[in-house]
């Protein structure tokens, strides 16, 4: 066991999906979904990963759990490299690293009642010895997650979206993990339900000492739950820092744009709000722009941005940004 303050460390992780074409299924290119990202997550803390669709945040989360095989790079969990584990070791590791999915409908097998959905893995990992123990354990966890024990025999279609997400959370937490990837865990829910689930996730973190990788496109949610924040754009982490650093002193132009584009609940002053609007659309990750990947949409872009890939500069302790102009702009 390691005693460092970090539970998980991702080093130079890459995940490229091949694009196959033609009758012979020849590889004609790669979608660089995750392209060389590194970060660390502290024990009991939350790293928020924010970005728009296609930026690779979901792929990153799944590759860390080895639900996808990485193209290169390593993920160190508790001092051990996840990708060097044998099948048996990986299976044991699964009890320590869990995931909560976005869609509460497609992530639950419609054929199984809550008991089975939540309890199956307990039996698989021999955490419980018999059905009775499994039922006890399932009831314990689902009541913590805000369901009642009577609901344990029900099937997914008998629940609403928010309740289904509670089942998904119970399923992930039943194994008593240390690390949970929350992949857009609240995005599909109604506004009034979102806040319930966010509070639940925070409560469980306090109670079980969990570390989260919280993936979301919604900055307001990220701000609420994260300790540290990483901003992704086209497979790269363009800015990374503590919540304070990212939200009060954003240094990458993309982070600025995201913050300005996020909704503000201030109709009185909406006419005077300063906001930079991005031109154009997100480029395809199969064919990312040269140099700084953001240069095609960046209002501050200069020639150097088209030619050279910016290095990841440390601006402040723990605050990194990938931008040539990081010290000149803001």
């Amino acid at each position: 066991m390691n005693n460092s303050e970090y539970l998980l460390e991702v080093r130079n992780l890459k995940k490229h999906f091949p694009i196959k074409k033609g009758a012979l299924r020849r590889v004609v290119g790669h979608v660089k979904a995750v392209d060389d990202i590194s970060f660390k997550i502290k024990k009991g803390k939350t790293l928020g990963l924010v970005g728009e669709s296609g930026c690779g945040k979901t792929t990153a989360g799944r590759t860390i759990l080895k639900l996808h095989d990485p193209t290169s790079g390593e993920t160190i969990f508790n001092g051990e490299n996840v990708y060097e584990k044998s099948r048996g070791e990986l299976k044991n590791l699964r009890t320590k690293m869990q995931i909560i999915f976005q869609d509460p409908y497609s992530s639950l097998n419609p054929r199984l009642p809550v008991f089975e959905l939540v309890g199956e893995a307990l039996r698989e990992h021999k955490i419980v010895r018999n059905n009775r123990e499994m039922q006890e354990k399932v009831i314990e966890i689902i009541t913590k997650c805000g369901l009642t024990k009577e609901q344990a025999t029900r099937y997914p279609h008998q629940f609403s979206g928010g309740q289904r997400q509670r089942i998904g959370i119970s399923r992930a937490l039943a194994l008593n993990p240390e690390f949970v990837v929350c992949d857009e865990a609240v995005s599909a829910l109604d506004v009034s339900i979102q806040s319930q689930i966010i509070n639940l996730l925070k409560d469980m973190q306090d109670e079980m000492g969990l570390s989260y990788l919280f993936i979301s496109h919604d900055l307001t949610v990220i701000k609420l739950i994260s300790d540290d924040v990483g901003v992704m754009y086209l497979g790269q982490l363009v800015e990374m820092g503590s919540k304070q650093q990212i939200f009060t002193n954003p240094r990458h132009p993309y982070t600025r744009v995201l913050l300005e584009a996020a909704p503000h609940y201030d109709p009185r002053n909406r006419a005077n709000r300063k906001r930079t609007l991005l031109e154009g659309d997100i480029p395809s990750p199969a064919n990312p722009p040269s140099g700084c990947r953001f240069h095609t949409r960046c209002i501050h872009a200069k020639d150097i941005c088209k030619e050279a890939v910016p290095e990841n500069k440390e601006i402040d302790t723990g605050h990194f940004a990938m931008c040539h102009k990081v010290n000149d702009l803001f």
Binding site: L67, N92, I99, N109, R111, A121, K149, Y155
Partner: protein
């Protein structure tokens, strides 16, 4: 510990929470047309089983003096050219026709399931070989190929069953392959992987139960089309050979002008049976499809 909770045993009691199949059944029962068709099918099958057992006539015994009697109290559906009772023969024929349909579908489902799973799970070259083979078979003209095979190997019932099965397996194989490819990517399958559930259980507990409804629906529709194929082949005289009756060779007399013009009782009842059975199977199949499709069930 939580003994109070376990003691009161709420959790072990079966209650009215329905599982998936109960929901499908309830949904199916709402479709009055499909339920009606299901009952008609049941009735036809019962007749096919029991009429030949209790009939005073044998399907083989014939009396030359009873040739071509129109429907009468002794012979409800009349007699044929050599004096056999048509009511009896109609339901003996039903046994053969339905039997061929069921057996061919059973083989198809088995073959389709095996090949479709191999194709869907392994992918790569296994998938390529199976899919190219199924494309080749589906591009053969059915009637022509069937007639050639029957001409080469004779028209015994086993040969016919083998022929139909050999020519119709690609359909279900493709459906199963497609479903597996889709279900494999379902998020709950990813969730199982993340939970460390082993491969075998992922397939048997999570994938197959979700595949089953599609297989049942397809099989029901497949029975109908096999019955039609058999009837077409037998009508042309290339199917099951007399004296064994099938619905197909029972309508064969309609090929002769004299029968078509004057002796409607010879071919109309088997024609109606084919029509009714095929239609009922199709309606039941459609009803099942609506019942298992989550989209038609709200969410």
């Amino acid at each position: 510990m939580n003994d109070g909770m376990v003691k009161n045993n709420i959790i072990l009691k079966a209650n009215k929470n329905e599982n998936y199949f109960a929901v499908v059944r309830r949904q199916f029962m709402k479709n009055k047309l499909a339920v009606g068709a299901f009952c008609v099918l049941g009735f036809i099958i019962l007749l096919c089983i029991f009429v030949p057992i209790f009939s005073p006539y044998s399907m083989q015994i014939y009396f030359a003096e009873n040739r071509l009697i129109p429907p009468s109290p002794q012979h409800w559906l009349g007699t044929d050219v050599i004096g056999r009772d048509l009511f009896t023969r109609l339901f003996v024929g039903g046994r053969i026709s339905l039997g061929i349909g069921l057996l061919v579908t059973f083989i198809n489902t088995l073959v389709g399931f095996t090949l479709g799973s191999l194709s869907g799970f392994y992918g790569k070259w296994v998938d390529a070989i199976i899919m190219r083979l199924s494309e080749m078979i589906s591009s053969l003209p059915f009637m022509f190929t069937a007639i050639v095979i029957v001409a080469l190997f004779g028209n015994s019932i086993p040969t016919l069953i083998a022929t139909f099965a050999a020519l119709t397996w690609p359909g279900i194989t493709r459906i199963i392959r497609g479903q597996i490819l889709m279900l494999r990517e379902a998020e709950y399958m990813k969730a199982c992987e993340a939970l460390g559930i082993n491969h075998f259980k992922r397939i048997t507990r999570h994938l197959l139960p979700n595949l089953l409804p599609f297989i049942i629906v397809y099989a029901t529709l497949n029975i109908a089309s096999v019955i039609l194929m058999e009837a077409a082949l037998s009508f042309l005289g290339m199917g099951v050979s007399p004296p064994t009756p099938t619905w197909g060779n029972l309508i064969e007399p309609a090929r002769q002008m004299v029968n078509l013009m004057n002796r409607a009782w010879l071919f109309i009842p088997p024609g109606i049976m084919i029509f009714l059975t095929v239609m009922c199977f199709n309606i039941v199949g459609d009803g099942l499809r609506d019942a298992v499709d989550p989209k038609s069930r709200g969410r």
